[in-house]
């Protein structure tokens, strides 16, 4: 009991310390390009944390989270450009719409097991992409240009500095982390891990497997949509290509997989390594680099899954006594 509480407290302190350090970094890093990478890193850390709730804790591997990301981005952009609704409400609305859609999609798909579920998520996200690609009201393939109305927190637009976006991303990342931390020691957290490890046994212990999956999907989709809404404001121009492609689904899943799937710190660790690597390879290799970053991911994932199947977090194992070979 004591070691457990201690570990939870240590995680919390470590997170607070890291957040404080991250908050100070812009004081020393003035380069806009580097700041841009930092914003994306924090955003993907948060998104991967959200993905990890469904894919890592609950074990329902989704490769279609771009759908929720896109829904968040589009809801915010559409509400703002068509009705003048402030992005903050769009963000919330996008989150709620995504959660509801996740529940609607979960209703049939959570009866599928294993690979079938993964395939279903890819297909559904692809359908979403095609719908937006052809939906004239939402700009179809041209997308939506979010008009600049001057820098303000109310409109969540900043043209002169990236710092406000950086701090929002930092808060978003902290919130996603904290929600995960909190869920980890809740009924839901335990149900999800049980469902992942063995659904039959979970059911026999009174866990309603279907409902558990639905809960995880809703939370995960909600947070992912918040990220999408943020991204729309950050880049101020969205089209289906830039927010709903399969690549985004991958980018949300990979940090968690790389860092340690179903762990509290995995997504953060994975994002901190993966996202800068992606951005740097892209800029070094230049315009023709599209795809090379993905090849690099592939290589990293292969190496990690061979050497550290538990993810990089395994290098900082918290449980040296019981990990590895039993004595």
């Amino acid at each position: 009991m004591d070691s457990f509480t201690q570990r939870r407290r240590r995680d919390l302190i470590l997170a607070a310390a890291l957040a404080a350090i991250a908050a100070c970094v812009p004081l020393f890093v003035k380069d806009v390009y580097v700041q841009n990478i930092m914003v994306l890193t924090l955003m993907y850390a948060a998104l991967s944390q959200a993905w990890n709730i469904l894919g890592g804790y609950c074990g329902q591997i989704s490769l279609g989270h771009a759908l929720y990301f896109g829904l968040g981005a589009y809801t915010t952009a559409l509400l703002f450009t068509k009705f003048g609704v402030l992005p903050w409400f769009g963000m919330l609305g996008g989150g709620i719409i995504s959660a509801l859609i996740a529940l609607a999609l979960g209703y049939p798909t959570f009866r599928l097991r294993g690979h079938y579920f993964v395939i279903a998520t890819i297909v559904i996200a692809e359908i979403g992409f095609l719908l937006f690609h052809n939906w004239d009201y939402a700009g179809a393939a041209l997308g939506i240009d979010i008009p600049v109305r001057g820098d303000s927190w109310a409109k969540f637009q900043f043209t002169r500095s990236k710092l406000p976006f950086y701090y929002f991303a930092l808060v978003f990342c902290c919130v996603a982390w904290f929600i995960t931390w909190w869920l980890e020691d809740s009924k839901w957290g335990f149900w999800w891990r049980a469902v992942k490890d063995n659904p039959d046994a979970a059911e026999s212990l009174g866990v309603v497997v279907f409902n558990s999956k639905m809960g995880a999907a809703a939370v995960s989709a909600f947070l992912t949509a918040i990220g999408g809404a943020f991204y729309a404001q950050f880049v101020s121009y969205i089209d289906p290509e830039s927010v709903m492609t399969f690549q985004f689904s991958l980018l949300m899943a990979l940090p968690a997989v790389l860092g340690g799937i179903g762990t509290l710190w995995g997504p953060v660790l994975g994002a901190v390594i993966l996202i800068p690597m992606t951005e740097l390879t892209r800029s070094f290799i230049g315009g023709s680099g599209r795809g090379v970053d993905l090849i690099l991911y592939g290589a990293v994932i292969v190496v990690i899954s061979l050497a550290r199947p538990d993810g990089l977090i395994g290098l900082f194992s918290r449980r040296p006594a019981s990990k590895g070979v039993p004595q």
């Binding site: 809740s186 335990f190 179903g262």
Partner: protein, 244 residues
């Protein structure tokens, strides 16, 4: 006898052309230890799964605590007080031993703190307390069996169903398993156990129900059951039954 805790009435289960259970009616009274025995393929596990709620029977009804639970899913039956273990252990491998048990305890405890306390009590009861912080996958087989029992007990069942939980253990391990089952019964929990190792179950159970070829063959006191000619013939073949 007063109303039994568990009753199956004319239960049938067909899998395509195969009849796994035909017209099985059994009852288990509160506080009993009942053994469900029979040779391989007798339909024990099928009946067990029907009672646990893995699937509904093709025909017939299942009653628990005076309530018809025939169509109830497994999770709901657990809520009503039926807990089970699995023949092939199904631990939550990536979770610690204590976390495995907490999952079971959550059904009766709203607060995490209470569930955790309950789980620690159950681990103590089952003799697994020293292993609490190990990962389930690092346990040895006999400990995994114990964990199955602990997890089930954490749901505070009225009826504990054990599916061959003593099979494949060393004699010493089996003996301490038997002691654990007795201890469980002393706490007021009714036990229904499937076993096919006769010499382990017979001294332990109050009553034995023998299934053969999907049908109920005999039921009664263990000592009578083992002498029953039909039971001997089911286990050993007709030749051996002649002298009995």
């Amino acid at each position: 006898m007063t109303t039994p805790l568990l009753e199956t009435r004319g239960v049938w289960q067909r899998f395509g052309g195969l009849i796994a259970n035909s017209d099985v009616s059994i009852s288990v009274g509160a506080g009993e230890i009942v053994g469900l025995i029979g040779p391989n393929g007798a339909g024990k596990s099928t009946l067990f799964n029907l009672i646990a709620g893995v699937l509904p029977p093709t025909q017939g009804t299942i009653w628990f605590n005076g309530e018809n639970v025939t169509q109830m899913p497994a999770a709901e039956r657990c809520q009503r007080g039926i807990a089970r273990t699995f023949q092939v252990v199904k631990s939550f491998e990536t979770m610690t031993v204590i976390d495995n048990v907490i999952v079971g305890a959550l059904i009766r405890n709203e607060k995490m703190r209470d569930a955790r306390r309950k789980a620690h009590e159950v681990l103590e009861f089952c003799g697994l307390a020293p292993r609490a912080d190990k990962l389930a996958r690092d346990l040895i087989p006999s400990e995994k069996r114990r964990l199955e029992v602990a997890r089930a007990l954490a749901t505070e069942p009225k009826l504990l169903m054990l599916d061959e939980c003593l099979t494949g253990l060393t004699p010493l391990e089996a003996q301490s398993g038997v002691a654990l089952v007795r201890k469980v019964r002393e706490t007021g929990v009714t036990v229904l156990m499937v076993e096919h190792v006769m010499e382990i179950v017979m001294p332990l159970v109050d009553r034995a129900i023998v299934l053969n070829l999907g049908k109920k063959l005999v039921e009664g006191k263990p000592a009578d059951v083992v002498r029953h000619p039909e039971v001997i013939s089911a286990y050993l073949g007709d030749r051996h039954a002649v002298g009995a």
